[in-house]
Symmetry: C2
Subunit: 483 residues, 2 copies
């Protein structure tokens, strides 16, 4: 492990983060808010820390390439460090009284979780609300991917960083050059954000709120500038615009690129996309049937709130237009299951990912098939491509680790005096990068009341979920640090 | 599929079941109870059905052997049919008003689940209570295994039946001849039952109750002749005697056989047994710490109730000396996790089984190890034996199916209007063959209030759990019925 090298990359990321803080700074100037002082402090601290890390480390040599171990270390440490420095604007604002809360809010932002400890969001400054939305937008497509797109010097060994930050089971290389792929992803992502802002403005949403919502929809983040989330408006138009963009954000971005290149059937031809959209529709219809009459009097309202909640949870966004804890049990269980399923691989969404669920189904079916035809040799395919055995093992290992982590973290959270349903719901929500959970952390409540140790645990869960477990957990394996 | 052949074996099992009903019949004579008429009817119906099935089928030819497909069909259908006819004594008694409840109680018995729909157990006849305990005892070590032990004619293809009924990941052949192995298992099992009866009698428990408790401890069943389960006595001696026998029942029976043959370190040398007992002790100590002071005033009481509840749930017995729903959240989450872990492979307990959990841990660790050393080739071992790749796949497939079934069944149960925690708890309990669940089916309540469709679903879950999923679910795969 070449620590100076790692420290240099993290230093660069920090300087980059300091520059990003200029966005809320300008916002505070625009609205003439007192918050600007705290943001200036944050920028200075972040920049200086970045410069120190860079200066301490050896000069970059262009023939150096990052190996897999270093790639994972950079990504896991980088995200933690960025989470910590990204917490400074929160920490310096009067709404936050301790660093635990600020770090929780910051990591919840970068990992696009969207769980919040802020109790009165409406009374917060515009600059802080914008920072809160902006870090979700940065984290959504990936900070490292962004660096790869705009910082060409990382290009040589960048694939290791890319693999560590986007460890999807079915990685698509859009173009032969990684930095080109990263650029395309970010351009598509930014373009869709602009389109959503346009549609929200067209419906009459104020410009600031439109920007905030678009910045947190595309990364499937879910932070909202209102205490009541999207329910604040209670307008069919906004609900459906956001549903559409949440679902688009939950689809593999390489399919969007294909669509833009004129392959109009790209969504339909992709197994995972069909599964993802199909499941969303089926679950929405079941919940519509379940809440029509009992919670909503009109079919229109039942369907609107049903598809919004399903899209919000399955894409792991976490916006709310209704308190699903007041829905009948069936709807709640379906939403709980959605928390685990998650969005598509290669999207900005979290959870286990539809591709892995499909593989898991096929894996189970193959075992049953083998019992019927013991001598058969059958491969598991997705989109007519055979999945190699090592990828298959990695996927099953991932799913097992996901469930194990879910149970272990819930147990630890419960040991802090949190009730069972809240513990299960909060952990499922944070590992899946969703936002609201169940029990006392449902869509109508927030995470402020949890004990400090619980917040640290959940922060770790968010990082584990965002970096898809392996990249983070491997740092805790002694074998990793040998030699 | 040779249906006449299958029908013949099931016919024999039914006649055997009719003979088993003589036990409660004698009991009803002894206590001079009116229940005898219902039991006589049950015996007649069961015997006649068995004879018809036998006569309809072709004559048995000694060179016939059962193939794997037929083996699975016989076992899955056999257990369902036996569950149905075993329900007759319940159905003919005044406590039961419909067949759904009787079938639920019967399958809950045979599968050693122990979930009950009987509301006032103390007012029931001795003969029905004995039948209820006796079917758990028969189901515990396996009806087919018993048939193999005492009906030599099944010997030729018996291995297929044995594999379908005892599909543990690490099967041990005690002796070269299957019928000898089956005999040994049943002799050890019956012997341990007698020893438990002796210890319970020695502590002053009435003979009838001693027999009932022993008949339901060794199969990790959990039916009790008292509404209050073991809490009825609230005596440290009985609690600890039952804890010891629950734990013995949760250990692989081939280890008991080794112990009897003088290998005194057999328990210690077995990885799974160490894991199982170690986990029980660790969880008991954590729960003791958690409930000492808050629920119980003395350490002695806290430890006694803690180890009893942990042993009862992890071995999937389901006796209760306390209402764990009144324990703090940590204890509840641990017990919920125990529901999934289950006892040892080759024991009479249910759940996922410790051996599979160990393999799953090692599987995950291997994936992490592979990330660190990508070119390494590492095998997963238990007790210094390499687990072949196909067994590994089957284990991971089993665990995935278990979790999938848990979520699917919980969703269906919730769709019947059952609240979320009850749905999750009831399904976890029934797939794991435990007994009590969470929510409104906790240790202080029972399953009577669930809707009829929910009872049928849970009955299916019990069968799926007892026959370890594959044997049952395969009958629902169209491919199985082809040609």
């Amino acid at each position: 492990m070449r620590w100076p090298f790692i420290s240099r990359i993290i230093g660069i990321l920090l300087i980059f983060m300091g520059l990003a803080m200029a966005v809320p700074l300008f916002c505070s100037f625009y609205y003439n808010e007192t918050a600007s002082q705290g943001i200036v402090h944050s920028i200075l601290i972040t920049m200086i820390a970045g410069l120190i890390l860079m200066l301490l480390s050896k000069k970059y040599e262009s023939d150096d390439y990052i190996n897999q171990k270093e790639g994972m270390t950079v990504v896991a440490l980088g995200w933690t460090v960025i989470g910590a420095f990204g917490a400074l604007p929160f920490y310096f604002s009067p709404e936050f009284t301790n660093f635990t809360d600020a770090f929780f809010e910051s990591v919840s932002g970068f990992t696009t979780t969207g769980s919040s400890v802020m109790i009165n969001i409406e009374s917060t400054t515009h600059s802080l609300l914008l920072w809160r939305s902006f870090i979700q937008w940065l984290g959504g497509m990936g900070i490292i991917v962004l660096s790869l797109a705009i910082l060409p010097f990382l290009g040589v060994g960048g694939i290791q960083l890319y693999k560590a930050e986007v460890p999807s089971p079915v990685p698509d290389k859009l173009t032969p050059r990684l930095s080109d792929s990263a650029k395309i992803l970010w351009v598509v992502y930014a373009g869709m954000t602009l389109v959503e802002i346009f549609f929200l403005l067209a419906g009459g949403m104020p410009p600031f709120e439109s920007i905030c919502y678009a910045l947190t929809t595309l990364p499937t983040g879910g932070f909202s500038p209102h205490n009541g989330s999207v329910a604040h408006y209670d307008t069919a138009y906004f609900d459906y615009v956001i549903v559409v963009f949440m679902l688009l954000a939950g689809i593999n971005f390489s399919l969007h690129y294909q669509m833009l290149r004129g392959k109009t059937l790209a969504f339909w031809k992709d197994t995972e996309c069909r599964f993802f959209l199909g499941l969303t529709i089926v679950f929405s219809l079941i919940i519509t049937w379940n809440i029509y009459g009992s919670v909503y009097d009109t079919f229109k309202d039942a369907f609107r709130h049903s598809i919004f909640q399903v899209s919000s949870i399955i894409t792991t966004t976490g916006f709310a237009t209704a308190d699903y804890e007041k829905f009948p049990a069936l709807s709640q269980v379906i939403l709980f299951v959605c928390m685990f399923i998650g969005a598509s691989a290669g999207s900005t969404g979290g959870g286990m990912k539809c591709a892995r669920i499909i593989v898991c189904f096929k894996y189970c079916y193959r075992e049953l098939f083998k019992l019927i035809h013991p001598r058969s040799i059958s491969h598991i395919k997705i989109n007519n491509t055979v999945i190699p055995d090592d990828v298959l093992r990695s996927i099953m290992g991932f799913l097992a680790l996901y469930i194990l982590l879910f149970f272990v973290s819930s147990t630890i959270l419960a040991s802090m005096g949190v009730d069972m349903m809240t513990a299960l719901g909060a952990v499922a929500s944070c590992i899946g990068n969703i936002g609201p959970g169940f029990g006392t952390v449902g869509p109508a409540e927030n995470f402020a009341h949890l004990p400090a140790a619980g917040k640290w645990l959940l922060t770790l869960c968010m990082l584990l979920g965002r970096l898809e477990i392996y990249t983070v957990i491997i740092l805790f394996i002694p074998e990793f640090w040998k030699r």
